[in-house]
Amino acid sequence: MHQLFALIGRGSIILAEYVGGISKMTYACTYWILVAPLRGKGFRWYASLRQMVVVGFNAVPIVSLISCFIGVIVALQGAYSLRAFGALNYVVNMVAVIITRELGPLLTAIIVIGRSGSSFAAEIGTMKVGEEVDALETMGLNPVRFLVVPRYVAMLVMLPCLTTVADTAGILGGASFAMVSLGWSMQNYLLRTVDALVMRDIVSGLIKSLVFAVIITKIGCYEGFSVQGGAEGVGRSTTASVVKSIFSVIAADMVFTAIFYYGTEG
């Protein structure tokens, strides 16, 4: 019993330190994005644009392809269940709602965690090990402003954009199933999709993607700054960033889905 309390206490302290560290970084990011430019400390636009290309533009092919496949899968699974009720037409609604409200933002976030969240941790971690982060500090340059803010801005802008791409590709995946198996025309499918969707479906997905952007950047960068030791430490932090990001994104997704569900029930 004594050991159990000690374990819980230790775990709580580690969690509090982790959350505290991430909160401190979020505060610093907010200062460097919103306050510092007003005080004449320049915003690093070029670095942010370069990150947007890496995080967003370069991820478009893989996000589109996977979302398209998922659209086909949802349509197939939906058709399997709905056929029994003679409600095959509702495959359109199912694909549209599931992709825009849930799978579009979630899958995009998971792909981006694998592509960018892990690379944030590895890049910053390698810089930490190579004393590059220390060098920035000795030059009077704030590492958060220099390393985190461009990635944060890029993620906040590009994750909703990628989610929109994923939504579109997923719906087109569903359409391809409808065209091949049900003999519908593309125009017909898209018109039904427009009817099935309400703005709230798309907006709720985009709000989630913004929250995911915050989570992925913060965990990736924080893990990078937390690296200790050499190459092994970088590997450990990179793995930790992926695991913690996926867990946090799914947990946040559950919370926000519940909020949207109960919030719109009445």
């Binding site: 004393e131 590059e132 060098a135 500090e137 000795t138 030059m139 009077g140």
Partner: protein, 286 residues
């Protein structure tokens, strides 16, 4: 030589002729129950080359990192140009850091930037100079360290010695008043290391800046130092001129000068104890 004055933030040490660049008072650093630095008191004068000598793990790099604010001391004060850095705000300290250059042991060049971009970074971030002026200044800095024409190269394309030189050029970018070197010849062959020593000597003679150099290389220390401090088990063992250091009779200094090995110990705890000292009353100095 030194007297005390007050600036409202504690007692500021001052030389009678106001020439102290860096003053360290009662500095201690502790990690867990190990005291890495113990009651360090030093004054480094403006324009002098001050070498901090000591064996591996004795705390000399930690001391250098504290001078530049990368680590915070557990207790004590560090004064640079009359400012107590342990009480400065981040903005105030960053302003002071513009007057300090640091060359790291592993150069710490930004690998995603060219050598020229590395050198130009401080100038771009801290000054309003035009791009053409920054490019000219970058070329001058690289020329000063013998790397003319290397500005478009990536750090990965440079040899170890060239990387060290590029790191020094970056440290020189803002024309610092104080230049810090962490093991400048570590990991280099004797010929390249001698080249780096000569470069530091040339910089010392040309710019008369305050140089603090951490090393365990005796040859470098004797060539460059105006004064030498020897650190052992986190405490200052000796401070004086190179000639005084050569004549010093302290057994540990003699052992260092004569390159005599310690008795080998296989016990990790014993080895750590030999490098540092155990804090007498943990927490009492906080």
């Amino acid at each position: 030589m030194f007297r005390s004055g007050s600036d409202g933030m504690g007692t500021m040490p001052q030389a009678a002729d106001n020439t102290i660049a860096i003053a360290i008072r009662n500095l201690a650093a502790r990690f867990g129950e190990r005291e890495i630095l113990h009651d360090i008191n030093l004054e480094i004068l403006q324009g002098e080359t001050f070498v901090i000598l000591g064996g591996s793990g004795c705390g000399k790099s930690t001391l250098l990192r504290m001078i530049v604010g990368l680590q915070k001391p557990t207790q004590g004060q560090i004064w640079i140009n009359g400012l107590n850095i342990t009480q400065l705000s981040e903005d105030e300290f960053n302003e002071l850091r513009k007057k300090i250059g640091m060359a790291f042991q592993n150069s710490a060049l930004f690998n995603s930037m060219t050598v020229g971009e590395n050198v130009a970074l401080s100038l771009r971030e801290h000054t309003d100079l035009e791009d053409s002026t920054i490019q000219i200044m970058t070329r001058i800095k690289l020329e000063q360290v013998g790397l003319s024409g290397c500005d478009p190269l990536m750090p990965s394309q440079l040899s170890g010695g060239m990387r060290k030189r590029a790191g020094i050029a970056r440290a020189l970018a803002m024309d610092p008043e104080i230049l810090l070197f962490d093991e400048p010849s570590a990991g280099l062959d004797p010929i390249i290391a001698a080249g780096i020593d000569e470069l530091i000597l040339r910089l010392k003679q040309a710019f008369r800046m305050t140089i603090v150099l951490v090393t365990h290389e005796l040859a470098s220390a004797f060539l460059l130092a105006d004064r030498i401090a020897m650190l052992d088990k986190g405490a200052i063992l000796f401070v004086g001129t190179p000639d005084e250091f050569r004549a010093c009779t302290i057994p540990r200094v003699r052992q260092f000068l004569e390159r005599r090995a310690d008795q080998e110990s296989q016990d990790v705890e014993q080895y750590l104890k030999s490098l540092t000292r155990e804090a007498t009353t943990p927490g009492s100095r906080m």
